[in-house]
């Protein structure tokens, strides 16, 4: 110990799991639970809860329903109230509170205190929305009365309220991440709300089109399962009958309870967010994920998607048309069409390509990061960057993710094609190779452009080369049947269309009356031919850019930048 250090007191660490003694949590308990601020919110919640119970009871008396059914009628409105307080108000509070904390300089202060990043993250995660937890708690006695009076079994409400809590934590973790990462106050709030809204309302809709896993990020599956016991007796019986046709969590046919699988799925998402937040607390300039974590995240998502989707193929529950014909059992009068299978395959590919681009965006260093990395390497006497370091190129990780994504897509496609629904069809290794090329071209170009020219150029390219042809093509094709082919060809100029059109060129299920199949196949082939050289050119340019930077900084001893 140095003489200077001797005077400093040795700190006692705060274990991350002891949330109740976490100084950040206690700080927010102190400031957000002041009686004069809390009283009004508690009064409103109490009155609303009392009103819900009162009005459902009075309607019950009026309709002469049984007391159990009358009491049960209050449960779902109370759940909606609790959901609003915890999900909407709580998430906005976490995101906004974190932004305020950053604006007020609290984040800088917090970086300097001797607590682990996880302790700090958990302190904010549970501290910022502590008032909302208390407000939701105010309505719990009414819920408890309704559950007890309605004779709802614990097997129905316990999993539901457990998943309400895990979903709340997942929502709040999302708000905390956006509040921490996005620098602009206004954007942070909008992105937070947008992300929460899409992650828990729009993206779960993909479950209807083959990406079943996403519904487990919400409270919906457990709510659906518990619903018959929460409703008045007659309505509950009807829902229970309908539920016989619902598919359950079939993760690789392990037969897990819905609540357990939902908990595991949300825990995975929260774990990923906490990892990102801890990296940011450890080092402000750090990427949200490092390269190996990004590859791991892609593999994890692929496993979850496949695990949930594959067992549903054989019974036919995966197909949208089956979902929409809810009460019809699969038989002679129903079979999935080529069109919907192709649509699901295309959607899977498009989602995978999008996810790879997002992960590549996270792990690709900015020019400033690259220059810093090379200078640090020079300072340490190294002639290369650490392969998994933030300043290293994300190219190899992107190419690896393209391969792994293509493998995931191929497993999905092969299982679908070789199922009992499409006899005589087959997907061989050429299909895998072809789709790997598609993902490599799209995601590799994106990453190379981002690495070499930065986010602004990528945004411009995405608008003018990615989105604009699709919009113009749609407008042209919409004019009339005569213009359908020109419209498709214009849309085909966009690399975004490649993951969508490629399955039609690669696979044998082509009996789709509504689509000009030959034209789309030709467009896909044109896309391969046109975009592959572009991708190679961008990758070469990326290599040259990195070599040039390396030479300038390591070779000549220069700084790699203009001096002030």
């Amino acid at each position: 110990m140095s003489p200077v250090e001797a005077a400093a007191p040795a700190p006692r660490g705060h274990p991350a799991w002891k949330v109740w003694s976490n100084p950040i949590f206690r700080r927010y308990c102190r400031s957000r639970l002041r009686l004069r601020h809390l009283a009004l919110g508690c009064c409103i919640t109490f009155l609303l809860s009392a009103f819900i119970v009162g009005i459902t009871s009075s309607i019950g008396v009026r309709n002469e329903t049984e007391p159990e059914s009358a009491a049960r009628a209050a449960i779902i409105p109370l759940l909606v109230l609790q959901g609003f307080v915890l999900f909407v108000v709580g998430t906005a509070q976490v995101s906004g509170g974190m932004i305020t904390e950053r604006d007020e300089g609290g984040v800088d202060y917090q970086r300097l205190v001797p607590m682990s990043p996880l302790t700090k993250v958990l302190g904010y995660l549970f501290g910022l929305p502590v008032r909302e937890y208390v407000l939701a708690g105010v309505s719990l006695p009414f819920t408890a009365w309704a559950l007890a009076r309605g004779g709802v079994p614990a097997s129905a409400w316990a999993p539901l309220y457990w998943v309400l809590f895990t979903t709340t934590v997942a929502y709040h973790a999302t708000g905390l991440l956006t509040g921490t990462v996005v620098r602009n106050r206004r954007w942070a709030f909008l992105i937070s709300i947008g992300l929460v809204f899409s992650l828990y309302t729009i993206i779960p809709q993909l479950a209807r089109f083959g990406l079943v896993f996403f519904k487990y990020l919400t409270i919906t599956p457990v709510f659906d399962e518990s619903l018959p016991d929460l409703l008045p007796e007659r309505s509950g019986a009807v829902v229970k009958f309908g539920q016989r046709f619902l598919s359950h969590a079939t993760f690789f046919n392990l037969g897990l309870p819905e609540a357990l699988f939902t908990t595991c799925s949300q825990a995975g998402l929260v774990f990923l967010f906490l990892t990102m937040l801890c990296r940011k607390w450890r080092r402000e300039e750090a990427h949200l994920l490092d390269k190996s974590w990004a590859v791991g995240a892609l593999v994890g998502v692929q496993v979850l998607l496949l695990g949930n989707a594959l067992p549903l193929i054989d019974p036919g529950d995966l197909f949208p048309s089956r979902n929409f014909r809810f009460f019809m059992s699969p038989g002679k009068d129903w079979a999935p069409g080529h069109g919907e299978a192709l649509g699901m395959i295309a959607l899977y590919g498009l989602f995978t390509a999008g996810l790879i681009c997002v992960l590549s965006g996270i792990i690709t260093p900015s020019l400033e990061h690259q220059v810093r990395g090379w200078r640090r390497a020079r300072n340490l006497g190294m002639d290369h960057l650490p392969a998994l370091g933030d300043s290293a190129s994300g190219r190899w990780a992107t190419l690896a993710m393209s391969l792994l994504g293509a493998v995931g897509w191929f497993i999905f496609t092969r299982q679908l094609l070789e199922s009992r629904w499409f006899p005589g069809h087959h997907a061989d290794w050429k299909v895998l190779a072809g789709y790997w090329l598609v993902l490599t071209v799209v995601c590799g170009s994106f990453q190379a452009l981002l690495d070499t020219r930065g986010g602004r150029t990528v945004a411009v390219a995405a608008i003018f080369a990615g989105v604009l042809p699709l919009l113009v093509g749609a407008v042209v094709a919409g004019i009339g049947d005569r213009y359908l082919h020109p419209g498709l060809w214009i849309a085909g100029l966009s690399p975004v269309s490649l993951p969508l059109s490629a399955p039609l060129a690669l696979l044998s299920i082509t009996e789709v009356d509504q689509l000009p199949v030959r034209a789309i196949q030709a467009i896909a082939k044109f896309g391969w031919i046109a975009w592959t050289p572009v991708c190679l050119g961008l990758l070469r340019r990326q290599q040259a850019h990195r070599s040039d930077l390396r030479r300038r900084i390591l070779g000549g001893g220069g700084d790699g930048v203009a001096r002030t």
């Binding site: 140095s2 200077v4 700080r27 007020e104 300097l112 002030t564």
Partner: protein, 326 residues
């Protein structure tokens, strides 16, 4: 077989702060360029420089809030990059325009950070918070809300927070901004008191008169580089501003005195008027005393001496002037 005993000689303690070849880049902009600095314990070092000189970037690197492009920083021999946790225990950082949370009272604010610094006992936290509030003269306001404080009071609360864990190195970015003269004087006394106990203080300010009074040494930064470092006089000399303008009031004829002075190498630009002589003098305080003594010995009847030197503000203005290269 006995080995000859080796008696270790006295080992010099490591400097409180050592910066080696520090560089900070923001894209193409070089904010701090190969900064080298050594500060012994107990020193109050003022970092001076125009806007954009690299003061705040340097301070943020020292506070472990900004990763430098390269370079090394040691607090009492502890490498802050290798062991940032130990470094943070040794250091207290107060940022420019230091904020306080609007939803806490003064004692709650300090209690929170005392807990975060590992003081788990509530009584010990309260005692430490009160001690620090007393040190900055805010103990009577301990129950007041942070949002009710004036700018100057806010600065002092943050200083109290910075002192909570007993840091051995204080890094204060513009701590005197917003303070009234009385509060500035109190701040100066607090810092000088801490320095006497061996605490090293790094302080940046634009109120250069305050700095000159408060600091034991100065470091002039410009465009990320050190232009001068040392005592106030040493800094003037390094910047070529050691010259002072002396005006002597003389009883009787001035010609003889003018003749004697014009023969000296350290006297320039001499002008003589009725009962007074004015000239630039290149020597230091000792040489100036010798000069006056010599004149008196030569029977020149000196009745007054006025000394004018360019102020630190003048130096800073000249440094910041366009066209000046570091």
């Amino acid at each position: 077989m006995s080995h000859p005993s080796i008696t270790p000689g006295p080992v010099a303690p490591p400097p409180a702060l050592e910066i080696r070849s520090l560089r900070v880049d923001y894209g193409d902009f070089v904010a701090v360029d190969h900064l080298n600095l050594t500060v012994p314990p107990g020193e109050i070092l003022g970092i001076v420089g125009p806007n954009g000189a690299g003061k705040t970037s340097t301070f943020r690197v020292l506070a472990t809030l900004l990763e430098p492009t390269h370079g090394e920083v040691f607090f009492g021999g502890v490498d802050i990059a290798e062991d940032s946790h130990r470094a943070r225990r040794l250091m207290g950082y107060m940022p420019d325009l230091a904020p306080v949370p609007s939803d806490l009272r003064l004692w709650e604010f300090l209690d929170f950070y005392a807990a975060a610094h590992g003081i788990t006992d509530a009584d010990a936290r309260r005692a430490r918070a009160d001690e620090c509030l007393d040190q900055v003269g805010l103990l009577p306001l301990r129950e007041r809300g942070c949002r009710e404080l004036s700018r100057g009071q806010t600065q002092r609360v943050v200083l109290a927070k910075t002192l909570l864990h007993g840091p051995r190195l204080l890094i204060l970015d513009e701590p005197a901004s917003g303070l009234d003269p009385l509060a500035r004087r109190e701040l100066r006394l607090v810092l000088q008191g801490l320095a006497r106990t061996g605490v090293t203080v790094l302080i940046s300010s634009h109120i250069l008169g305050e700095l000159a009074e408060m600091c034991t040494s100065l470091c002039i930064l410009h465009r990320g580089r050190v232009l001068a470092h040392g005592s106030v006089d040493a800094v003037r000399r390094q910047l070529g501003h050691a010259t002072r303008r002396l005006t002597l009031g003389i009883v009787g004829p001035v010609e003889a005195a003018a003749a004697r002075l014009s023969g000296r190498d350290d006297v320039r630009d001499l002008t003589a008027g009725v009962g007074m002589i004015s000239f630039d003098f290149d020597g230091d305080d000792e040489a100036q005393a010798d000069l006056v003594e010599a004149l008196v010995r030569d029977r020149v009847r000196v009745k007054s001496l006025e000394e004018r030197r360019s102020s630190l503000e003048d130096l800073l203005v000249e440094i910041a002037a366009p066209g000046r290269n570091a």
